[in-house]
């Protein structure tokens, strides 16, 4: 990165540029816990193992089919804790409002926050509110930090291993397409809703079902392709997935086709990838719910990279997201 380089939106899209920037910043603070680069940090206080994480939410529009910035802010943080095998307990809530924001919008978001917190079994125990001048923020930004107790610390590894099965718990790309639909008022695309949902329950069931779960990661920005690359990178192993096994709901696939998007790079908010010892595949798949699919395996070859076998049987690299996808022109 050159000295005079500026931040672009691609530095925040969850893809390769963002990873490079995060690496650069994290180098300043390097320590054992941070360097693990998990969704949540694992910290020990006294005899207790805790998971701790933070996330900021700047989604536009604030309300979209299936959710809003409030439910997202609670459940996004809850899910990061869940990926550590933790039971999420307490959340902080920071609100940055733009001057001029109607108070009733804030009320509506607060109600949604409470509803989501109840659904996930967490409490908002501290908070902060700031107001900035018109134009200094866009409507409403939300930050949440969360803390939870790690229940299954001895059951969750930090790396996927060759032979592991790779499972995903449902159709991908639903959140990203719901946001796109709301942002561009594409009313003709019915039946597409954000998948935003708490994952702590389902993760608990998976961990109870198998002692051989190696790695969990929720699929967020950058989509499934990016998550799989992160797992391959952290685990220093290769991943092979089959395109036809990756679940994409028909309405979502159609909308992606119309716009020229690759669903593998579109975000989710209620999906996670589980790497489990091949022997326990069936048990964990059952625990993950009826929409869960086995999409591929961890392999010894092509370390750090993801290979996709396409519908027509050709194999190719599945890279991380580079630039955000734009709708095609014709």
């Amino acid at each position: 990165m050159a000295r005079d380089e500026r931040i672009t939106l691609a530095h925040g899209n969850g893809g390769r540029l963002m990873h490079a920037l995060v690496d650069r910043l994290a180098a300043h603070f390097s320590n054992e816990i941070l360097d693990e680069r998990a969704d949540a940090a694992e910290v020990r206080i006294g005899g207790e193992r805790l998971a701790f994480t933070t996330d900021s939410y700047v989604v536009d529009p604030l309300f979209f089919p299936g959710g809003d910035i409030g439910s997202l802010a609670v459940l996004g943080t809850v899910n990061d804790l869940a990926m550590k095998g933790a039971q999420p307990l307490f959340l902080s809530l920071g609100l940055i409002c733009e001057e001029g924001l109607p108070v009733r919008v804030l009320d509506r978001v607060a109600r949604s926050i409470q509803k989501a917190a109840r659904r996930a079994g967490v409490s908002i125990v501290t908070g902060d509110l700031k107001v900035v001048e018109k134009g200094a923020a866009h409507k409403l930004f939300v930050n949440t930090s969360g803390i939870g107790v790690i229940r299954y610390f001895n059951r969750l590894g930090v790396r996927a291993r060759p032979g592991d099965a790779i499972l995903v718990n449902g159709g991908i790309a639903e959140h990203g397409m719901a946001i796109f639909k709301a942002r561009h008022e594409m009313g003709f695309m019915a039946d597409i809703k954000s998948d935003v949902a708490p994952l702590n329950g389902v993760v608990g069931r998976c961990l109870a079902a198998s002692k051989r779960i190696r790695f969990l990661r929720d699929v967020t920005r950058g989509g499934l392709a990016t998550t799989l690359n992160e797992i391959a990178r952290v685990s220093r192993a290769g991943i092979e997935v089959r395109e036809e096994d990756i679940p994409v709901r028909p309405a979502v696939r159609k909308m992606c086709d119309v716009l020229g998007f690759d669903p593998l790079y579109i975000s989710c908010e209620g999906r996670f990838v589980c790497c489990v010892d091949g022997k326990d595949t069936a048990k964990v798949k059952r625990a993950m719910g009826p929409q869960a699919r086995l999409i591929g395996r961890v392999v010894g070859g092509h370390r750090g990279a993801v290979h996709l076998f396409t519908r027509v049987g050709a194999g190719r690299l599945l890279p991380m997201l580079e630039q955000d996808q734009l709708p095609r022109i014709c």
Binding site: D262, R316, L326
Partner: protein, 338 residues
């Protein structure tokens, strides 16, 4: 079997992307080669046209609107994105109607839409212009940098720069044009044409159809994309197009100036021509040194032949448009590896 490979051109950028995404080249027998053609709207827009758009974008009070991919294509004095960083009001829109809506909401500013695209996109712009006239929105105009694909294909065949045995024709363009314009190519150049969809199975079927036509030496037009394309095309869309625009000479990146390969406003709609409102003049632009986009667009070279590819030219720092566009051949090669 010691024949030259059959060389088929997929004209459309969306096909190029779909072929790369599905890895189709990897499973084709060695006797069939696929070449990418000039069907990426962003890629074929000349540097000169980008410079001209930038000059309009610098005019006082102008809001320049364009499709997202167009923002990052380098012109001779930087890209539209650079212009935006300078503080000019350049906005990404997803359709021409979005630009008209901006014009309606900001009556004191002049909203210019940079129109690129082929027969598929131009009718929607024509419809928007008619809407603007109906609603009396005067602060809206269009830079008509549209392209027509058939004159380009003929120019490509006439230039004989590259041997093309058959065409995988653009599915979306054909929805509008129907299959008749291809009959001319078949009659004049004896090349088979197949109109096909964008699923891997559509593309494979199309390739099969072309190979059979070549083997039996019976070139003709076949519509395999029957779920979307009719022989007559979309008559209503073409009527809209012809109401507002007429064919005009256009400059293509890689192919140069081709007669009747672009669109200009008809006399009755000249009020909407941004180039009449702002008759800006820019020097003839030079292509970036070492960039092979022009040759890639004609199928003469592949991205692998380019010394900049993957080194100086990446999606993060594109030198040429084929690396920028989501329909560009270089971007397809870069993302999906060939």
């Amino acid at each position: 079997m010691n024949r030259d490979p059959i060389r088929l051109m997929e004209v459309c950028g969306t096909h190029t992307m779909a072929i790369a995404r599905a890895g189709i080249k990897k499973i084709l027998p060695p006797g069939i080669a696929l070449l990418s053609g000039p069907g990426c709207p962003v890629c074929v827009t000349s540097g000169h046209d980008i410079d001209r758009a930038a000059a309009v974008g610098r005019q006082k009070g102008v809001i320049l609107t364009t499709f997202g991919d167009m923002m990052r294509v380098p012109g001779s004095r930087g890209s539209l994105q650079d212009l935006k960083r300078e503080g000019r009001d350049i906005r990404i829109v997803y359709s021409c109607l979005d630009a008209l809506e901006i014009a309606r909401r900001t009556p004191r500013r002049d909203v210019v839409f940079m129109g690129v695209g082929f027969e598929t996109t131009a009718p929607t712009v024509a419809a928007t212009v008619l809407e603007a006239r109906k609603k009396g929105i005067r602060n809206f105009s269009v830079l008509p940098h549209f392209k027509l694909i058939f004159p380009a294909l003929e120019a490509l065949l006439l230039s004989e720069a590259v041997r093309i045995d058959g065409f995988i024709c653009p599915g979306h363009v054909s929805v509008i044009t129907g299959s008749r314009p291809y009959e001319k190519i078949v009659r004049r150049f004896k090349r088979p044409c197949v109109i096909t969809g964008f699923e891997p199975s559509d593309i494979l079927k199309g390739i099969g159809t072309l190979v059979r036509a070549l083997r039996t030496r019976r070139p003709r037009v076949v519509i395999e994309y029957t779920r979307a394309v009719r022989p007559a095309g979309n008559i209503k869309a073409r009527q809209l197009l012809n109401t507002v625009f007429e064919p005009a000479t256009a400059q293509w990146r890689g192919l140069g100036v081709i007669k009747k390969s672009g669109l200009a406003f008809r006399r009755a709609f000249r009020d909407f021509d941004a180039l009449r409102r702002w008759p800006v003049r820019v020097a003839a632009g030079k292509e970036p040194a070492g960039c092979l986009c022009g040759d890639v667009l004609r199928g003469v070279k592949t991205p692998a032949d380019c010394r900049l590819f993957g080194k100086k030219c990446t999606p993060e720092h594109p030198v040429g448009p084929c690396m920028v566009s989501s329909e560009g051949t270089c971007a397809a090669f870069y993302h999906y590896g060939q």
